[in-house]
Every structure is written in C-alpha cells, then in structure tokens.
C-alpha cells in the first residue's frame, strides 16, 4: 500500500505535541522534589485527574488499533472487553479493594504483599512485574515503529529513538506527575483525533441503523450467540466469557496491575482514591463508540468494492489482511490536512503514553520493591528520587533493547502477549484471599502464587508446542480446537484456580499472622474509615451503582 502523505501543517501538529509534553515535563520538574512527588504524583490528585490517568494508562494506541480491527473479526463482541472485561472489576477495586491499598500508604502493589505476607512474595511479584512492564514497553515501541513504518514510511530507528527519548525526558523530569499529565492530554487527543472518524463513518452511511443493517447476528449481538462456542466468531461460550474475561483476566488486570492502580495511589484522600476507578469506568464504557463503530464502518466499506476501501496485507503474515490498519485507513478516507496530523498525533500519543505508563510503574517497583527492599535498605528519600530518575533512563534503554529483539525474533511477541495471564491472573487469587480471608498465610500466598504462574506458563507452552491434544484441550478449554482467544481465557482461569487452591490448602496447614498484624490489611480486621458527612453525589457507592445500571442497560440493549 502507498504510505500516507503528511502536509507541513500535519507535521507541525506532530512536532507541537513533542514540544508540549517535554515542556510539561520541564515545568513539573521544579515541583518534583520528594519521593512522594516523583513516585506518587504528590498524592494530591482529584478523582477526575487520577481517574482519567487510570483509564489512559491502559488506553494505548495498540488497543484502539487492535480493537477497531478486532471488530471486523468479532463484531460487537469486542464491547465485552469494555463492558464485561473492565467495568465490573473497576467498580470492585474502587468499592472493596482500594481501602486496603490506599490506607496502608504503600508505594506499590508489591508493597501490599510485603505488609500482608512477607518479603519473598513481594519480591516474586516485583521481579515478574518489572520484567513484564519492560517487555510490554518494548513491544509497544516495536509495534509503534511497525505501524508508522508501514503507514507513514517513517524510519524504524528514528521512530523508536525519538519517541523513547521524549518519554525518558519527561518522566525523568517530572516522574509520575509528568506521566499522568501526558496520559490525560492523550485521552483528550484520542477523543479529538479519532471519535470524528466514527461520526463521519456513520454520516457516510446515513445513520447507525444503516451501518448495522445486513450484518450477521454474530456481528451485532453481545450474548445471543454465546450458548454454543461454534455460533460466534470468537469461539467462546458465555461461561468462558464470564469466568475468563469477566472475572479472572479482568479482575486480575484492573485490580492488581500496578501500572493502572498506581494512578489511584496518587489521589489526595481515600474517597478520591475509591472514586478513581469508578470515574474511569464511565469513560471506559464510552470507548466502544470509537473502536466498535469505526470497526463496523470499516467492515461495511470492505464489503462494498465500490467504496475503494481496501485493507493491506498483514506485515507479519502477508497471506492475511491487516485489520489493524482499518483506523489509519479511515483517517486517509475522511480527514483533510490538519485533521490527518491530529489523528496521527492521537495514535502517537497513545503509543507513547502506553510506554510512559510502563516506565513509570517500573521505576517505582524497582526503586521501592527491589532496590530499597534488597540492595540498599537505608537509602534516603533524596537518593531514592535519584535512583528513580536513573531507573527511568535504564528502563527506556531496556525497552529499546526489547523492541530490537522483537524486530529480530518475531515469535517473541507470542510469549510477551501471553505474559498477563502468567503474572496477573494468579496474583488476583493471592490478593483476593489476602484481603478477604485472614487465615491466608505467607507460605500459602508464596507457593500458591508460584504454582499458578507455573500452571499458566505450562498450559501456554503446551499449546505453543502442540503438546496438548484435542482430548486434553477439551478438558482445559471446553473446546477440542480452541481459538487463541479461548486458550488465553482458560489459561488465566486455570492459573487463578490453581493459585487459589494451593494457597488455601497450604494456609490450612501453616500458621497465619496474628490479628494485630493484619489491621488495615484484611477485611474484618480493619476499622471502617469515617469519611465524614458526604452528600450522595460524592459517594463512591452511589456512582458505582449508577455505573452498574448503565453497563447492565448497555448489555441488555445490545443483547
């Protein structure tokens, strides 16, 4: 395919973005002095700021491109990843888990594991999380360079080094606050730069009804085709969806992944911290109006040869069409000069915010949970800030190294994309038991977590090297020929179940901590925090109920 031509004005918009984010980093530098400033954003953010950052840390360009393309394959099922696979977990985090996280004044999720269990459980999670974030950051960088190389003809090396240098610069200067500011800017740029595509697409067809008209029911329903795995494009039943996506993967990611939870820790008080994921849930619900609508418009355009809308071959497998190119091709179709620059800047901002989120989470976990916990226990606050800045630079360089590795060995992508279910799914079982069952012991948590991680990795390798036949596949996934998506869902379910089971079993035969040691860390052992007299519209419970009603209504409407 021919690359997208950018006019001088489009370039000006892109360059202005770099100037703005580095300028923000320079401005915030003078306000970033203590460890709390650098790693926790000063703990002074409102629920609006922390909530938008919480959402944006997850809202990368990969998600936008991937789910727009995914809609062309799975139809409205993609909405499950927002309405089922995110919102309930975000509400649960805000209502039930945040009080334990926030009140213990920890710097990170591994920090909670240290307080609740012991140093070895913290270290196990800190090391796996640090490796995961660096790998994810590198993959994000690699995919950004790939997308811009294919679509815009930009040089690989320039794309990667320039964006990585900008990220390294503004995080080194302003720490988490810089990351949060740029994430919020990115959130608005994504809506300003990409939502117009859905609007223009619907306008071209003369209404949303015309876009949906003629599409098969598998494309336009959420639940009606989930009774049998063979009747929907994702090849999954409602049980796999609810347990795998709606419970284990979703709760595993949104309630334990420090990359997103760190944003809530930056809140000014407990009520704001609880409202953080609840506020984010409303914006998360709205995202299908960009990705799903744009994906359906692209799908309809591809079906009509007269539209002139053609997808290019997939760069990693030229025998297939590249669905992920749908969104940039809609930019070419609808956007004039200026808007093209805005759309590309939105994607660029999405890619860069994704990397920045990983790097800022990495520098915190390295500094507090590995460096201070193991290497230099007497480090001063000033020294930790210095270490955080140095770690940022090292993290960015390691991300670039991972990106080059992915460029050389494409199969590494398969491993890295599965890493979430190795790390987050088992951790969710550990957290759930740790926060809600006081009998959970340190030994149970450590060995359960390790067992779940090994289980998840073993299933992944079994499928990867065809060691799992149809019979065993049927037992593990309820399908003799599971799709990649189904494998991922069930891999997470098994990892969670093994962690849960092993943790309970070992806990029953080992000695738990005393009640006094669990105050503030476990439900039932923690005095209820008096948040003062708060009127209805300021209560987390009220907004969580509203969000739940809205998400149920959306599911019912698109049943």
């Amino acid at each position: 395919m021919a690359t997208i031509e950018l006019a001088v004005l489009d370039w000006a918009i892109i360059v202005l973005y770099f100037v703005a984010i580095i300028g923000i980093g320079l401005y915030l530098r003078k306000f970033t002095k203590t460890g709390d400033d650098f790693f926790m954003g000063g703990r002074k953010n409102s629920s609006w700021v922390a909530g938008l950052a919480f959402l944006s840390a997850n809202l990368g360009a990969l998600e936008i491109l991937g789910w727009t393309g995914g809609t062309m394959k799975y139809g409205m099922f993609v909405s499950h990843f927002y309405w089922l696979g995110a919102v309930p977990a975000m509400l649960f985090l805000g209502l039930y888990m945040m009080p334990f996280y926030y009140s213990s004044k920890i710097h990170s999720v591994p920090g909670y594991l240290k307080l609740r269990f012991d140093e070895r459980t913290r270290l196990l999670n800190a090391v796996t999380f640090a490796v995961m974030t660096l790998l994810m950051s590198g993959i994000n960088l690699y995919l950004m360079a790939l997308v811009f190389k294919v679509l815009l003809g930009w040089d690989w090396h320039v794309s990667m080094w320039v964006s990585a240098a900008a990220i390294g610069c503004y995080i080194t200067l302003g720490g988490l606050m810089s990351a949060i500011f740029t994430e919020i800017v990115q959130f608005f740029l994504i809506w300003a730069g990409l939502f117009l595509l859905s609007i223009l697409g619907v306008m071209e067809f003369g209404g949303i009804g015309n876009v949906m008209q003629g599409l098969p029911s598998t494309m336009t329903s959420l639940w009606a085709t989930t009774g049998d795995a063979s009747t929907n494009a994702m090849g999954v039943t409602w049980l796999g969806l609810v347990m795998g996506l709606g419970f284990v993967m979703s709760f595993g990611y949104w309630t334990t992944d420090f990359l997103v939870v760190q944003r809530a820790f930056s809140s000014k008080d407990l009520r704001s911290a609880r409202l953080t994921p609840i506020t984010a849930a409303f914006f998360k619900m709205a995202l299908p109006f960009i990705v799903v609508v744009a994906g359906m418009v692209a799908y309809k355009l591809v079906l009509d040869p007269a539209s002139g809308f053609k997808l290019p071959p997939d760069p990693s497998d030229p025998s297939k069409l590249w669905n992920d190119a749908a969104l940039p091709l809609l930019i070419v179709r609808y956007y004039p000069v200026g808007l093209v620059g805005l759309g590309i800047t939105a994607l660029l901002a999405g890619f860069m915010a994704g990397q920045a989120g990983n790097v800022s989470a990495f520098n915190t976990v390295w500094t507090y949970d590995i460096y201070k916990a193991v290497i230099n226990k007497k480090a001063t606050d000033a020294h930790l800030v210095w270490m955080g800045r140095m770690t940022t630079v090292v993290g960015v360089l390691l991300s670039i190294g991972t990106a080059y590795l992915a460029m050389q060995f494409n199969t590494i992508m398969d491993y890295i994309q599965a890493i979430f279910s190795w790390v987050n799914a088992p951790l969710f079982a550990t957290m759930l038991l740790g926060m809600f069952w006081k009998r959970t012991t340190s030994a149970g948590a450590f060995w359960g977590l390790l067992a779940g991680m090994i289980m998840s990795f073993s299933i992944f390798m079994g499928f990867r090297f065809n060691l799992i036949g149809p019979e065993l596949a049927g037992v593990l996934t309820l399908s003799a020929t599971p799709s990649d998506m189904t494998r991922n869902l069930w891999q997470a379910i098994w990892a969670w179940a093994v962690t849960f089971g092993v943790t309970v079993l070992i806990s029953l035969f080992t000695t738990p901590k005393t009640d006094a040691e669990l105050v503030g860390l476990v439900k039932g052992m923690t005095p209820k925090v008096d948040e003062g007299k708060v009127w209805l519209l300021g209560r987390p419970g009220f907004w969580a109920a509203v969000a739940l009603v809205v998400v149920i209504a959306l599911n019912a409407y698109f049943w």
Binding site: A7, L16, K30, F31, F188, A192, P336, L339, T345
Partner: protein, 72 residues
Amino acid sequence: MSQDTEGREPLPIWFFVGVILAVYGVLVIAGNFMTSRPTVLSETRPGLWWGALMVVAGGIFTAIGVVAHRKG
C-alpha cells in the same frame, strides 16, 4: 506535590489540556482552508466545525484551569 520556592502549586492539568485543544483546533480550522487531496464527505467541511468545537472545548478547559489555579 511539593510547593516550589514561591509556595505555589503547579497549574492544573486542565489548563494544559485546554491550551493544547485550542491551539490544535485553530490549526485544524486552518487546514480547512489549505489545498488537500480529495476526501470522502469533504463537502461537510469536517475540519471547520470539528476545529471550532475543539477551540470552544479548549477555551472552557483553559478557563477551568485558570480559575482552579487562582483558588489555589
């Protein structure tokens, strides 16, 4: 977040969001008057009304940021 030597808090994020949206809105409107390759629905002039919306939204956010900063 620490206060700087003058005891001031940093400008709120809404100020930066507002300025960026407003400046980009102006540039998008300017693009509407430049020669461009043919696009679908170009007759609806999306750059013009979308850019205007961005300028308005940018103005509102900038004002919110300034007011919030003055209140301290």
